[in-house]
Amino acid sequence: MRSAIIEEIYNLMKENGNVYFLTGDLGYDVLEKIEAEFPNRFYNMGVAEQNMIGVASGLALSGKKVFVFSITPFVTMRCYEQIRNDVCFHDLDITILGIGSGLSYGILSSTHFSLEDIAILRPLPNMTIFSPVDEIEARLGMRYFKNHHHPLYIRIGKKKEEIIYKQPYDFQYGKGVIIRPGKDVVIFATGPIIGEALSAADLLKEKNIEAEIINLHTIKPLDNDLIISESQGKKLIITLEEHGIIGGLGSAVSEVIGEYLPGNRVMRFGVEDKPINIVGSQTFLRKQFCLDSIGIMDTILKELKTY
């Protein structure tokens, strides 16, 4: 997914001389082509994220379209006030490329995980949050956002994510996608972890439970209409994300349900609210937090039995 997005940006930089790319001293084996071809529009800002966002803002205020790149916590938390005051309050054409969504930096440990990014970026005015499921959707989004001139955060995995879409589809800004119909329960999910939801739905089908899977690739603005329409008549409303349980997609969907369909319970899958002291592959870590297909299935079955 990361390489696909970088390739789309490379193409954009080729056709538009107004596009800048800034990195916080990361991007080995990914950014070399952009650096070589656009030396006056590519800058390694050093390990200095506050300045990176400030410089991006000055560039954008002078009419440039700017991409900033780093590992998610570094490019969102370290420089959060710059994103709030300089980028969002001034509604600038800056795209934050956050690498390593959720637990994808598995063995690098919790300093590199991104489990709070949606929670902190969602309240910022003018901010859009795009969380693609796979390479195909990432490319569709990048092509759409070429003409989006406002703050944008892209929640990017790392590499070799499972391919969910076999071919391009009609991508629409702020509109969720039903990727698997089902009448019993609905799972609203975002990002590459949708793969686990689809496998869980296969397992649930064997138990005669039909799970509808909805891909909410844009977390802000959120597709309220789709959330409301697909939640009605379901035995269970579920959210799934590779993000902390507080403040992410689960919270966002709960706000909509609380407001428009009060009285319905929302069951949120996410990483528990505790420091993480274990490491391992992304697959291993998902299992630890019940975010793998079997964990998801088991938890849903248990929940349905209590009804």
């Binding site: 050093g46 200095a48 400030g54 410089v55 991006a56 803002s57 000055g58 954008a60 205020l61």
Partner: protein, 267 residues
């Protein structure tokens, strides 16, 4: 040396405007506005290429007030230059005003909303980089406070600007010796500031921030060596109004109606 009487008179008028705009018993940040009057007067009436009727003209020089708490002085200057109708400032610091106490880019002529310190310089660096790459002559000036230099973001920006030789960028440090909760030399003593900044590849000049002859000489005397420029302007907090002059509390002190009237009659 040319005669700067005109600028001196303007500076006095700006001080009058500052005091006049103050809402009795409400407004603060008066002392820090008074200390930058000469610097702003010099920049806006002599140095910067600006277009009051077209504030966003692409040929304009960029000025960023990074010490956003001194916005009142900037608003008074912009008013005097005709960026907006004079009456607007009658609402300063009042309910539903478009003139907040910290600089707002909603005001014509204000490039960047500031208030949290350490934001202006990185943004100024971005402007300077953009102009340099586009081979444009626009100059970028950022006015900062000395206390503000505690923020690490400034040093990130200082290092980057030195590395990339952004000679179209100038910072002016308003060295009034006070910061939010004490004297700068007692909180974090950065002296000699000039030496620290010059080590990162900048030209550094020291000047009297209230003296137009010195300001002119300094701004006109930049070396042409592809380095960014830093002017350390020694100033007095609350300058020009004895009620505030030289006092740490001038950052927070308010005026009652009687004192306000007295100051105005003396100016």
């Amino acid at each position: 040396m040319e005669n700067n009487t005109g600028l001196t008179n303007l500076a006095r008028e700006i001080r009058e405007d500052i005091i006049a705009a103050v809402v009795p018993n409400n407004s603060h940040h008066i002392g820090c506005s008074l200390s930058i009057v000469e610097i702003l007067t010099y920049l806006y009436f002599k140095k910067l290429r600006i277009f009051p009727k077209e504030p966003k003209n692409p040929e304009r020089d960029i000025f960023i007030l990074s010490k956003g708490h001194a916005a009142l002085a900037l608003y008074c200057i912009l008013q005097k230059k005709g960026f907006f109708k004079e009456k607007l400032l009658d609402t300063y610091d009042q309910d539903n005003s478009s003139f907040p106490e910290h600089a707002s880019s909603g005001v014509p002529g204000v490039e960047l909303s500031t208030g949290s310190l350490g934001h202006g310089l990185p943004v100024g660096v971005g402007f300077a980089l953009s102009f340099k790459n586009d081979k444009k002559n626009n100059q970028v000036t950022v006015l900062m406070s000395d206390g503000e230099l505690d923020e690490g973001s400034n040093w990130e920006a200082i290092m980057f600007a030195g590395q990339h030789r952004l000679d179209n960028l100038t910072i002016v440090i308003d060295l009034n010796g006070f910061q939010g909760y004490g004297e700068t030399k007692k909180v974090i003593d950065l002296s000699p500031i000039g030496k620290k900044i010059s080590e990162f590849g900048w030209n550094v000049y020291e000047t009297d921030g209230h003296n137009f002859d010195e300001l002119t000489k300094t701004f006109d005397g930049f070396e042409k060596n592809n380095r960014p420029n830093c002017i350390i302007a020694k100033t007095v907090k609350g300058k020009g109004v004895p009620y505030f002059e030289g006092k740490f509390e001038a950052h927070y002190m308010k005026l009652d109606q009687e004192t306000k009237d007295k100051i105005l009659s003396e100016l």
